[in-house]
């Protein structure tokens, strides 16, 4: 059984390739990394290059059409797609075109008796559900679920695909120098929430992150509603899922949608002035106090005033 994997994010694509290779190996098949427009640097494993008249990357609808076209020549009962906003749009389009089930945000992926199964969080991650669909199926997989594929690059097969004309014209407004990858791969994350009074105060959170050898992240309101930080910092259900060794929530209440993204952290620390804040229920260590006192005190205790 062959498996196709696609993500516009090369690191996620490498992880999907591991997942795909694992599923394919059991049945003597292969996993192919689907590459659009050109083969990316650093792609490992077997690649399936989609050659089309119109550029595909950046247009989820066209990518869906192209992958659908490729599936006519390369029979692949399982398609793994990276769980990003683009990935969701590609998966949605492809599912309708090829009449496929989509398991979204699944882990512990298995092929069993002609079915693809996995587990996913539901009700904002409060519960876990076992989900499954008959083959052929698509699975959307969040970053950090598998180790990146590290075997040497294999052969590149090319397929010519035809798609409809692009329906949406697209323009990049702001590209981030820092990708959310830093967050996804980070060992230490100090995340800021609405407990911060002003954007400038992110500086003390950054200082704590530096002192702990980590990077900063944020709850959704800071990146989305307030716009103090870019979208790539947004942790949780609708943002990035992280799995650091140490996660420090500073002025974050711990609403389930945020917690959904931090469950896989090894150690969770919360700093919040409200003893009743739900974040303490999901933390290993909590400090009840004003962050404007606690964070400076921590910096002093770490010898980094």
């Amino acid at each position: 059984m062959d498996v196709l994997v696609f993500s516009e994010n090369p690191h996620l694509a490498a992880e999907l390739l591991s997942a795909g290779a694992g599923l394919a190996a059991a049945s003597g098949g292969r996993a192919y990394s689907v590459e659009a427009d050109s083969v990316r640097q650093g792609t490992h494993g077997n690649a399936l290059l989609l050659r089309s008249e119109v550029p595909l990357l950046g247009d989820p609808a066209l990518l869906a059409e192209a992958i659908s076209a490729a599936r006519k020549t390369k029979v692949a009962p399982v398609v793994l797609i990276g769980s990003t906003k683009t990935g969701r749009m590609v998966a949605g389009g492809l599912a309708v075109l090829d009449q496929l089930c989509v398991l979204s945000d699944v882990r512990d992926l298995r092929v069993d008796g002609g079915r693809l199964t996995g587990t996913r969080g539901v009700y904002a991650g409060k519960f876990n559900a076992l989900v499954g669909g008959p083959l052929p199926s698509i699975a959307l997989i969040p970053q950090g679920s598998y180790e990146p594929f590290s075997e040497p690059s294999g052969p590149v097969e090319e397929v010519r695909v035809t798609t409809g004309p692009p329906k949406v014209s697209r323009e990049e407004l702001r590209s981030s120098a820092k990708s959310s990858l830093d967050l996804r791969g980070a060992k230490v994350i100090v995340a800021a929430g609405r407990g911060l009074k002003a954007k400038e105060d992110l500086a003390i959170v950054q200082r704590l992150a530096d002192a702990l050898g980590g990077v900063i992240g944020a709850s959704r309101p800071l990146s989305s509603d307030l716009g103090w930080l870019g979208e790539e910092y947004h942790i949780g259900l609708t943002g990035v899922y992280v799995h650091p060794d140490l996660y420090v929530a500073v002025g974050i209440s711990g609403q389930i949608q945020h917690v959904a993204g931090i469950r896989d952290s090894k150690v969770i620390v919360a700093i919040n002035r409200d003893k009743q804040a739900p974040i303490f229920q999901v933390s290993d260590y909590g400090v009840v106090g004003d962050l404007y006192e606690v964070v400076p005190a921590l910096l002093r205790a770490l010898g980094r005033p």
Partner: protein, 253 residues
């Protein structure tokens, strides 16, 4: 302008509790219009206010869906369409029946919905719906501007912001920062009762193109939280020292 907005009547995920066996206590659980769906309804009403036309709110679900439809009518939608489904459907089937219902009730210039449902958050119905309808999809909009026959949106993806433009009709999904949803007045709530509400069933919309299989959901169990929950209280100098000690013991410093 003929506008449709699709909403979901969702379990209130914040209030949902586990029973003694760790399964969600869905019987008698609170339910409400999906959190982001309120933003989609608000955006639909704003588009009507600035461009004229009418808004039809569509909800696929069980009998409870009418509560959500009434709320959307009270906010300012003009008509409601309930797509009655006795069982929970997956994204492919949901989007299919919504597309059939919209085709019957349409044509629409703009179909709005939220980026995802607050209880399941698949984020798939939008792009699927667009594909079933053969329309362009503008996803994750935080800004929507209609200009004559064109629409322009701005979206924040994980690592960049983009703007999209297309010719109407189109399907657009919105994120929460697109607007602040209004609360209906008492008068509006009363008036909503008089607004038209139609109902169709999933069965009546079933034809040969309907998906014949779906995602099955097996056991649903509560995520175990296995945390130490050690909380330090007191002067900051003291609590921070205790925290640092604890992190040293964990081998994290």
């Amino acid at each position: 302008m003929n506008i449709a907005v699709c909403v979901k009547h969702a379990v209130d995920e914040g209030e949902l509790r586990a029973d003694t066996s760790g399964r969600p206590q869905l019987q008698g659980a609170l339910s409400k219009m999906g959190s982001f769906d309120r933003n989609a309804v608000e955006e639909a009403i704003r588009l009507k206010e600035s461009n004229g036309g009418s808004v039809t709110v569509v909800c696929l679900g069980g009998a409870d869906s009418k509560k959500t439809l009434k709320e959307a009518l009270a906010m300012g939608c003009d008509k409601a369409l309930a797509v009655a489904s006795a069982r929970a459907l997956d994204a492919l089937a949901t989007s299919y029946y919504l597309s059939r219902a919209l085709k019957k009730a349409g044509p629409f210039d703009v179909v709005l919905l939220a980026e995802g449902a607050s209880d399941t958050y698949h984020g798939l119905v939008g792009p699927m719906l667009a594909r079933w309808l053969g329309l362009p999809f503008l996803g994750f909009a935080r800004k929507v501007e209609v200009n004559g026959s064109k629409v322009r949106t701005e979206a924040a993806l994980e690592d960049r912001a983009e703007s999209y433009e297309t010719v109407l009709p189109a399907v657009i999904s919105v994120v929460s920062e697109v607007n602040t949803p209004r609360y209906p007045t008492l008068l509006q709530i009363m008036q909503a009762a008089k607004k038209p509400m139609e109902e169709v069933t999933v069965e009546s919309l079933t034809d040969e193109g309907a998906p014949k299989f779906g995602v099955t959901v097996g056991d649903v169990v509560v995520q175990s939280v296995d945390r130490k929950k050690l909380v330090f209280e007191g002067p900051a100098e003291e609590t921070s020292r205790k925290l640092i000690d604890a992190l040293r013991k964990e081998g994290l410093l």
